[in-house]
C-alpha cells in the first residue's frame, strides 16, 4: 500500500489567497519518491504556482503517463481530477479531455522516457495541434522506476552510475516543441524555484500549447559525476536567459527598469509577463532565432533556461476546429440530436 494521506493539520495563520484557499489546499498525498528527488521540487512549484494564480483546484485536470514523473500528480492538487494513463500516451488522453470540456485547465506531467522515447509521437502531435495545456516534462535523463537505464534525453558521452557511456545522440524536446509550433516554450531546473514557479504560472495562463522542459536530477540514478543531469552539472552549465514575474491585470506596475533589461509581454487575458532579461540579445518572440540560439549554446555545452519563446496571442485546437463555446459534456439532446424529421428527410433521399 503506497497511498499515504497527508495529515490535515494546518498552521492557523497560513496565508490565504483570494479564493480563501491556503497553499495546503493545493497539495496532494505524501510523495513516495526518493528523498531529495527533483520531481518533488516541481510538485511544490506547481502547488505554489496554482496558489499564486488563485486557481480553483477542482477546475484543473492533471494528467500523466507512466514513470516516476507521472506518479507525481498524486502529490499535488488533491482536489483535482487526475488521470494516470498509459506509458507515453498522456498527450492523446489530454487532447480528448480538452475537446470534451474546453473550460478546465489542463496540466500534463510527463518524463523524458514517457515523452522522448515511447511517447515521442504523441508529444510531437499534441504540440503541432496546439492543445491548450501546460505540458511539463520532468527531465532526469534516466529511467528511475526500472533502475537507471539511459533515456533518450541523455547526452551522448554522459555516464551512467555504473560508468557506462551513452553512445546515442540526445533528443532535445525544447527544440522539437519550437519546431512543431508550441506557442509557449521554456526550460527550467527543479533546483531553481525562482525561475520555475513563474514559468509554471505563465504556462498555466497561456491559452495554447505551453511546454516546459524541467531538468530534474534523479538522486538515485543520475546525480553522480559524469552525469549531465546532476545538480552540480546543471548548476555549472545553466545559462538562464531570463527570469520572469507574472503580474495579473489588477496589479499596478510601479517600479521602473533600465532600458533593455526588462520586457513587458501582455497576455491575451490581460495579465503581463515581466521578463527580466539576463541575455540582452535574446528575443522571446523569434521562434527561429530561439532554435539557432539553443543549438549554438547547446554546442558550447550550455543548458539554456528561461522563457524561450512565447506567442502572446496563441490559437488553440478549439480555435482550429471552430467548436462551440459550450463544453461538449454539457450539450444535451436538443443540441446534439437532429430528431425524427431530419431522419425522415434523409430516408427519402436514400430511395
Amino acid at each position: 500500500m503506497t497511498f499515504i494521506p497527508k495529515p490535515k493539520l494546518h498552521h492557523p495563520e497560513l496565508p490565504k489567497n483570494a479564493l480563501g484557499y491556503t497553499r495546503r489546499d493545493y497539495e496532494g498525498a505524501v510523495s513516495t519518491l526518493c528523498a531529495g528527488c527533483g520531481h518533488d521540487s516541481i510538485s511544490a512549484a506547481i502547488v505554489r504556482a496554482c496558489f499564486n494564480l488563485e486557481l480553483p483546484p477542482h477546475r484543473i485536470a492533471k494528467l500523466s503517463g507512466i514513470g516516476c514523473s507521472s506518479k507525481t500528480p498524486t502529490y499535488f492538487l488533491g482536489a483535482s481530477h487526475g488521470f494516470n494513463s498509459v506509458h507515453g500516451r498522456m498527450p492523446s488522453v489530454l487532447t480528448g479531455a480538452n475537446l470534451a470540456n474546453r473550460d478546465l485547465i489542463y496540466l500534463g506531467v510527463s518524463g523524458d522516457g514517457d515523452s522522448a522515447s515511447i511517447g515521442i509521437g504523441q508529444f510531437a502531435h499534441i504540440m503541432r495541434r496546439g492543445v491548450n495545456m501546460t505540458y511539463i516534462v520532468e527531465n532526469n535523463g534516466v529511467y528511475g522506476l526500472t533502475k537507471g537505464q539511459f533515456s533518450a534525453t541523455s547526452d551522448r558521452g554522459a555516464k551512467s552510475r555504473r560508468g557506462v557511456e551513452n553512445k546515442d545522440e540526445a533528443i532535445d524536446l525544447v527544440g522539437m516543441a519550437l519546431q512543431l509550433g508550441a506557442t509557449f516554450v521554456a526550460r527550467s531546473f527543479s533546483g531553481d524555484k525562482d525561475q520555475l514557479i513563474p514559468l509554471i504560472e505563465a504556462a498555466l495562463k497561456h491559452q495554447g500549447a505551453a511546454f516546459i522542459d524541467c531538468i530534474s536530477p534523479c538522486v538515485a540514478f543520475n546525480n553522480h559525476e559524469g552525469s549531465h543531469t546532476s545538480f552540480d552539472y546543471v548548476r555549472e552549465h545553466n545559462l538562464a536567459v531570463n527570469y520572469l514575474d507574472v503580474i495579473s491585470g489588477r496589479e499596478e506596475i510601479t517600479v521602473e527598469y533600465a532600458a533593455g533589461t526588462v520586457e513587458m509581454v501582455k497576455q491575451h487575458d490581460g495579465s503581463i509577463l515581466r521578463l527580466r532579461k539576463l541575455a540582452n540579445d535574446y528575443d522571446v518572440h523569434d521562434r527561429i532565432a530561439a532554435m539557432t540560439y539553443l543549438q549554438e549554446r547547446g554546442a558550447a555545452g550550455e543548458i539554456v533556461t528561461g522563457l524561450l519563446y512565447v506567442d502572446p496571442e496563441p490559437m488553440d485546437l478549439h480555435h482550429h476546429m471552430n467548436t462551440v463555446s459550450t463544453p461538449f459534456n454539457e450539450l444535451d439532446e436538443a443540441a446534439l440530436c437532429p430528431g425524427p424529421a431530419a431522419l425522415d428527410k434523409l430516408n427519402a433521399s436514400l430511395r
Partner: protein, 620 residues
C-alpha cells in the same frame, strides 16, 4: 452482332440474375454502375451491389457485382455471373471464365478479338463503345467518362430497363446543373439507340417493374453507423485512416457538417481528429469520455491490435468508449479489401490481464444505425468500451434496409454520474463503490464540485475509493465487481433473435452480423431439401441466457461464421460452458461474402455425416 446466338440459347430469367461489371480503377465507372443499380431499385426490384476491389487507387482491376432478386435475397449468390460487362482487358480471361453456361458477355468490340478469346457456351454481345464515344467526343476524359453512360444506355435496351427512371436519377444526381444532365441523357440514348438498332433486344435476362422494395432505403453500413453516432450524441471522433472503416469517419464528418453546426454562431458541436495512429485515436476517445463527452473511434483489425493497451485501461479504470471495428481479412495486413468476421476474440478479450468486453453484431445498415446510437448509452451505462463489429460487406456496400427511425422522446442514458447537487447534499461518493449491487459504480466529471467527488483515475490497482492499493483483497473485490458488471450487461445488449423452422427439428444454427441474408436464403434452400433448422441470430456479447437455452434445446447446432477458427463458437464454448461436440463449425473465410449456396451445401453435407435422425421420424 449476337455472335453465337444460333448456337447458344441464353439464360431466360426475369428479375433474378447477377450482373458483374469489370472495370479499371479510376475510370469513372462507379457512378454509372451505381446508377444502374439504383434504377433497378426504382423499378421496385430489390438488388444488392458489391464493390470488389483490390488495395489500389488507380489503373488496376475493380468489379461491381449486382444481384437482382425480386424474391428479395440480399446475400451474395455466388456461383458465377449471368451477365458480364467486361470493360477491363487486363481481367478478360478470368471475367469470361466466370460466366455461367448460357450466360451473356457484354464487351466493347471496337477492336476485333480472335474467336479463341471467347467461349462457345455463352452469348456474346459486342457494342463498339470506343468507336461511338470517339465519334461523339473530342476530349479524352469525356470519351472515358461517357463510355460508362453509353454502356448503361445499351444495357437499358438489352435488359428492358425503365429509361425514365434512369433519366430521373441523372436529374437528381446533377440537380441544378442542367447542361450536365442533358449531356448524360444524350450519352445514355446514344448507347440505347445503337443497341436497339443493331442488337436483338431484349436478351434473355430482363427486368420487369415489381413491388418488393417497399419503403426500404439504400445505404452503406458505415454511413448508417456514422449517422447513429450523430443521433447518439457523439461529439468527439478520433480516428486513423484504415480500410474498410475510413468511410465511417468520413460519413460522420459529412453528417456533422449537415446536422451539427450551430445555425446562429456557425460553430461546430463536434470535433473530429485524424490522429497520428490508432493508439492516439483510442487515447483521445478515452480522454474525452472520461471528461463526459460521447466519443468514438473507427478502425479495423490492425487498429484493434494497436489499441489493446488502452482498451485494458478503459476496462480497468471504467471509462466509456465506443469502437467501431469494420472487420477485414487478417491476420497482419491480410486481405485489406476483403470481408471477414475475424476480430471476435481479439475484441472480446482485448488487452492483457483478465478482461471481457461488450460486443455488438449489427446485421445491416438499419442495425448499424440502431446499435451505434445504443452503443453510446451502453458505454455510459456500463462505463466500459463497447465494440461495434461491422465488416467490409456491411460497411462498404450499399444495402437495402428498413427506413431509419428515431423516437423524439428518446433521451441519452448518461449512466451513473454524480452531480454537483448530489455531492453538495452529502451523497457518499466512492468511485469504485458498488452502491446498487449491479457492479456499476458512480463517477463524476472533472470539475464538478470544489471539494467533493474528485478522484484519481489510474490503470493501477486501487480500492473502492480510487486510492492506489496493491492489497490482494482490494484487487480481488474490484475484479469480481467487474465480472458482476459484465453480467449486468447481458440484460442491456440487444437480445438474440430466434426463428423456428416450419417443421419441428433437432437441428439449430447460430449466426450473426453480415451472414444474415445468406442464412435467410439458405434456410429455404435447406427446407426444400428436407433439412429444417431453428435459427438464432446473436446480436451481442455477453450472451443472453436465451443463447444457452437454444443450444440446450437442440441436438446439434451449426455455428455459421466468416473466419477460419470458428471464433464465435470458441466464445460460446468458453463463456457458456457448452460441450464443443454440440457445436458444428460452418466456416467461410476466403474473403468473399458468405453465400446461401455455401451455407446450404455445407450444412447438408454435415447433416449427412452426423446422421442425425430427423425429428419427425422419431415422433410416431
Amino acid at each position: 452482332m449476337l455472335q453465337s446466338a444460333e448456337r447458344v440459347k441464353g439464360l431466360q430469367r426475369v428479375n433474378d440474375f447477377v450482373v458483374k461489371f469489370a472495370n479499371v480503377n479510376g475510370s469513372g465507372s462507379a457512378s454509372a454502375n451505381t446508377l444502374f443499380a439504383k434504377s433497378i431499385l426504382r423499378m421496385g426490384v430489390p438488388i444488392t451491389p458489391r464493390n470488389i476491389f483490390p488495395s489500389n487507387i488507380q489503373g488496376l482491376p475493380t468489379w461491381y457485382e449486382v444481384r437482382v432478386s425480386e424474391a428479395g435475397h440480399l446475400g451474395a449468390r455466388g456461383g458465377g455471373v449471368d451477365l458480364m460487362v467486361a470493360m477491363n482487358p487486363q481481367t478478360w480471361t478470368q471475367d469470361v471464365a466466370s460466366i455461367v453456361p448460357g450466360g451473356y458477355l457484354f464487351y466493347d468490340n471496337t477492336k476485333p478479338m480472335p474467336p479463341s478469346r471467347f467461349r462457345e457456351d455463352i452469348v456474346v454481345i459486342g457494342v463498339p463503345l470506343t468507336e461511338i464515344t470517339n465519334k461523339a467526343y473530342t476530349e479524352s476524359r469525356q470519351r472515358q467518362l461517357f463510355k460508362n453512360i453509353v454502356y448503361l444506355g445499351a444495357l437499358s435496351a438489352l435488359l428492358e430497363m425503365d429509361v425514365p427512371e434512369i433519366e430521373k436519377l441523372l436529374a437528381e444526381q446533377f440537380r441544378g446543373r442542367d447542361k450536365l444532365v442533358a449531356a448524360n441523357v444524350q450519352a445514355l440514348h446514344m448507347g440505347r439507340d445503337w443497341a436497339l438498332a443493331n442488337l436483338e433486344c431484349p436478351i434473355g435476362l430482363t427486368l420487369r417493374r415489381a413491388n418488393t422494395v417497399g419503403d426500404r432505403i439504400f445505404i452503406e453500413g458505415n454511413a448508417a453507423a456514422a449517422l447513429g453516432a450523430v443521433y447518439g450524441g457523439a461529439t468527439v471522433c478520433a480516428w486513423y485512416p484504415i480500410t474498410p472503416s475510413s468511410s465511417l469517419a468520413e460519413a460522420f464528418t459529412r453528417y456533422c457538417g449537415r446536422y451539427r453546426v450551430d445555425p446562429e454562431t456557425k460553430k461546430n458541436k463536434f470535433a473530429i481528429v485524424q490522429a497520428e495512429d490508432e493508439l492516439a485515436s483510442i487515447g483521445m476517445v478515452i480522454g474525452a469520455a472520461w471528461n463526459g463527452a460521447r466519443a468514438f473511434t473507427a478502425t479495423s483489425g490492425p487498429g484493434i491490435s494497436l489499441m489493446q493497451e488502452f482498451v485494458g485501461l478503459a476496462y480497468f479504470a471504467e471509462i466509456p468508449a465506443v469502437i467501431f471495428d469494420v472487420q477485414r481479412a487478417g491476420p497482419s495486413t491480410g486481405m485489406p479489401t476483403r470481408t471477414q468476421q475475424t476480430d471476435i476474440l481479439s475484441c472480446a478479450y482485448a488487452s492483457h490481464g483478465d478482461t471481457k468486453h461488450v460486443l455488438l453484431f449489427p446485421e445491416d445498415p438499419y442495425e448499424c444505425f440502431e446499435f451505434a446510437a445504443l452503443s453510446f448509452d451502453l458505454a455510459d451505462r456500463l462505463q466500459t468500451p463497447i465494440f461495434m463489429l461491422l465488416d467490409l460487406e456491411i460497411g462498404m456496400n450499399d444495402r437495402l434496409c428498413k427506413p431509419l427511425t428515431w423516437d423524439d422522446s428518446r433521451m441519452m442514458d448518461r449512466g451513473k454520474v454524480m452531480t454537483e447537487e448530489e455531492l453538495q447534499a452529502g451523497k457518499d461518493f466512492g468511485r469504485y463503490l458498488d452502491v446498487d449491487g449491479d457492479g456499476i459504480p458512480y463517477r463524476t466529471y472533472p470539475g464538478t464540485h470544489p471539494t467533493r467527488g474528485a478522484f484519481f483515475t489510474r490503470g493501477t490497482s486501487k480500492d473502492r475509493r480510487a486510492r492506489y492499493s496493491e492489497e490482494g483483497p482490494d484487487y480481488e473485490e474490484n475484479m469480481l465487481r467487474l465480472l458482476k458488471k459484465f453480467d449486468t450487461a447481458k440484460q442491456l445488449v440487444p437480445r438474440p433473435i430466434a426463428r423456428s423452422a416450419k417443421e419441428p427439428t433437432r437441428l439449430g444454427a447460430i449466426y450473426f452480423g453480415s451472414t444474415s441474408p445468406a442464412m435467410d436464403e439458405a434456410e429455404d434452400i435447406l427446407a426444400e431439401r428436407g433439412i429444417h433448422l431453428d435459427l438464432m441470430r446473436v446480436r451481442g456479447f455477453p450472451f443472453h441466457q436465451d443463447v444457452k437455452s437454444f443450444i440446450g434445446e437442440h441436438d446439434q447446432v451449426f455455428v455459421v461464421e466468416q473466419n477460419r477458427d470458428g471464433q464465435l463458437r470458441t466464445l460460446l464454448v468458453n463463456e457458456l460452458e457448452i460441450d464443443p461436440a454440440k457445436l458444428t463449425r460452418v466456416l467461410h473465410f476466403d474473403g468473399t461474402p458468405i453465400t446461401a449456396r455455401f451455407i446450404s451445401d455445407a450444412i447438408a453435407d454435415k447433416v449427412g455425416e452426423l446422421k442425425v435422425v430427423p425429428f419427425r421420424k422419431a415422433v410416431p
